[in-house]
Symmetry: C2
Subunit: 113 residues, 2 copies
């Protein structure tokens, strides 16, 4: 679930974010292909601003996606192909997950020289 | 930078979060020990609700911490020992990082049976 670059390039706040923390269950079971497809599909959605993702060797991962509105997040959640992936995620891919929707109010960083 | 459990147990929203995305530079240079100490110290701060962290083999990682107020986040940022760590992070440990402060408005998940 890697984007072309690790870091998302986001506009000046405010904007919205979905923080998805998950523990993968054992075995791929089609997860890798679906995860790639979901990233590809997400980037095509109206209001998508970017995403960042990391998963350790223990299978615990965090994916943070950024959106210009709560409506864009709701539309992505309701997307049919994404709904199929969500159902598979619940049933097969994730032993545990937590999802949080938040409004980004402030942002800063250090970019490479 | 692993907590005793991977998932943070957070209250019903609203609460605040700091999303810290980072690319580690090569070599440990004291990073591991300091990261552990910062987790230990963060958990002792007023208003700290929990944290989650994942880093892939490529050195790209995301740490999300949760707080009960913006004041608690500001106090943690200003903590003297944390300021030393921040300076080392900028100078030595991170090739690139992005930090976002956000207000969690909604949360749900799937816990193990």
């Amino acid at each position: 679930m890697r984007m072309s670059s690790s870091f998302a390039t986001t506009p000046v706040p405010p904007y919205y974010t979905v923080i998805f923390s998950s523990q993968r269950s054992a075995g791929d079971k089609g997860y890798g292909a679906m995860a790639e497809r979901m990233v590809e599909l997400a980037t095509q959605q109206p209001g998508f601003l970017g995403a960042e993702s990391a998963r350790g060797g223990d299978g615990f991962g965090i994916t943070v996606s950024y959106w210009d509105s709560l409506e864009a997040i709701a539309a992505w959640k309701a997307h049919l192909e994404h709904q199929v992936a969500q159902a598979k995620g619940q049933a097969q891919w994730y032993a545990h997950y937590e999802l949080r929707v938040a409004k980004v109010e402030r942002a800063y960083g250090k970019s490479p020289d």
